[in-house]
């Protein structure tokens, strides 16, 4: 599927050369099967955003439920508009400024792709919108790290800047055909559906933001309980369903590689969920619903970079490892006492790293053979491990560093952190003038 990607992206490259108009209008027939699946995938990935809103929304206190849900929803507004305006161009345009970012004026407001059909047989609009959904969910994931204590206005400005300065460059490096991580080593750093671009970047940025902003009032001495685990469970379910679009859609086709990714996704999620409740059962004596949901997410996050290259047994092991390591990470967080409120780093950051690193040991033989052929010599697991480690490290340092700069600068103009009174009153009342529930008892 790397080669599929490459072909898709080669075409994007072609369309930069100014012959795009000519190229688009003729020849390439629409593959209605692939297009139908990509349309479905696009919708499925969008479904993950309300899924995330429910997942996070249920975990906060009742006074913050709408504010937390809005963190996800407002991303659908802001990032969709940004993506059409400049995001797609920055991410999938050709290298400018020495490859830090892409740009293609044809993609500016998507004005030059009206009739483009990609090599994969799908209209470029579909590919662009599919990628746009990833751009939406990534900043929304970060919000879990600093839930219940940030100003709505500052959050909106933050995700705008973060999308432009962190997501788009990273997406360009990893997924654009001329991105430097895409071309690292024999067949590039493996990030099938967004382990580094989406999960590591969101998780690490969340951690930096949580450390910068400080803990919620009363944390960790005052017990802060979820207001509604029922909607959290429903949200986790929607995320699992949506993830089939996220991973299987990332094959940008409807065929064998789609089926491989779909299977790996299902297996990793199930293994992760089971592993989590078993670990929790042994450690705490109870298998919790939230634990099951956390295991689903840990497994899904970890299989995201791997879905295209691992077989089901590999996906299963990755899911189990992800739950084990994420569980330990969250225990460590509780000891260290920093307030990554909804474990954006604990699940997405750590899970993403686990997936991106451990996938190396389960890569299909055919992929390794292709990689060896591409180098013209041999290509071992350990060579690829080095490439994966470099990609992970770059994602961590870049996302972490840029997030710090963005928040530090933003904080000079708009106070990011809510005041004590605003925090006590809750995000719903303070920033939205509404309430999520009628007469639910305070928690």
């Amino acid at each position: 599927m790397k080669s599929r990607w490459k072909r898709v992206l080669m075409l994007l490259l072609f369309s930069l050369t100014g012959t795009a108009g000519l190229y688009a209008s003729d020849a390439i027939p629409i593959d209605s099967g692939a297009t139908a699946w990509m349309l479905t995938s696009t919708a499925l990935v969008l479904l993950m955003v309300p899924g995330l809103a429910m997942f996070y929304g249920g975990l906060v206190r009742s006074k913050n439920v709408l504010g937390t849900i809005m963190h996800s929803f407002v991303a659908m507004g802001i990032i969709s508009v940004l993506w059409v305006a400049v995001g797609y161009s920055m991410a999938f345009g050709k290298n400018v400024l020495g490859g830090i970012i892409g740009w293609n004026s044809d993609y500016f407001f998507l004005k030059g792709i009206d009739t483009n059909i990609l090599d994969a047989g799908i209209p470029e609009y579909v590919f662009s919108m599919f990628q746009g959904k990833f751009a939406i969910i990534t900043p929304a994931l970060i919000a879990g790290a600093f839930a219940e204590r940030v100003s709505f206005k500052a959050y909106c400005l933050f995700i705008t800047l973060w999308s432009l300065l962190v997501y788009n460059p990273l997406c360009h490096w990893v997924w654009a055909s001329d991105g430097f991580l895409f071309n690292l080593g024999a067949k590039g750093a493996i990030d099938f559906a967004g382990g580094t671009v989406v999960h590591i970047s969101a998780g690490v940025s969340g951690l930096v933001a949580a450390l910068f902003l400080g803990s919620r009032r009363g944390y960790p001495y005052q017990v802060i309980r979820p207001n509604n685990l029922v909607i959290t469970m429903l949200g986790a379910g929607l995320l699992w369903v949506g993830w089939f679009g996220f991973n299987a859609g990332s094959s940008i086709s409807s065929g064998l590689s789609t089926a491989q990714a779909l299977t790996a996704t299902q297996v990793a999620a199930a293994a992760g969920a089971l592993a989590w409740v078993i670990i929790e059962g042994l450690h705490q004596g109870k298998a919790t619903a939230l634990g099951f949901a956390s295991g689903i997410l840990a497994g899904l996050v970890a299989v995201t970079p791997a879905a295209g290259v691992v077989q089901p047994y590999g996906a299963m092991i990755i899911g189990i490892l992800a739950s084990l390591i994420c569980y330990m990470a969250i225990q460590t967080k509780n000891k260290l006492g920093y307030d990554d409120s909804l474990d954006a780093f604990g699940i997405h950051g750590i899970g993403g790293i686990v997936g991106a690193i451990f996938l190396t040991f389960f890569i299909r033989k055919s992929w390794m053979a292709d990689a060896a052929a591409a180098t013209g010599g041999s290509w071992t697991m350990w060579n690829q491990l080095g490439i994966q480690a470099v990609a992970v490290l770059i994602a961590i340092l870049f996302a972490g560093g840029m997030t710090f700069v963005i928040i530090w600068v933003l904080n000079k103009f708009v106070k990011f952190r809510s005041s004590e009174d605003e925090e006590m009153a809750g995000l719903d009342r303070t920033y939205h003038g509404e309430r999520g529930y009628g007469m639910l008892n305070p928690s």
Binding site: R217, Q222, A425, M439
Partner: protein
Amino acid sequence: MKLITAIIREVQLDKVREALIEAEITRITVSRVSGHGQQRIEEMYRGQRIIPDLIPKIKIEIAVNEAFVDITIDAILKSAKTNGTEGVVGDGKIFITPLEECIRIRTGERGGKAI
């Protein structure tokens, strides 16, 4: 023995609880209530400002022995006011009623030592 019932603003709950805990009053019952006093508040509904008839409040009930009555009242007074010392219409009320009996279900103990 007295039963202290305080009606306070929702947003002041955390502060009041912290003040009570500081005064070593930890046995409390909290519920969400709505009612009508002097205060009017505004909420938003699709771009319209609306003024609900009944305003949500928090009710705290605390049963105390005589020696703790003033301590409890002071803790609530100093923590339930908006703007620190000023106070704003809608900060709430405290009711104190005599408490005839108090029984701990587990042991059947009665009176002051059961509180």
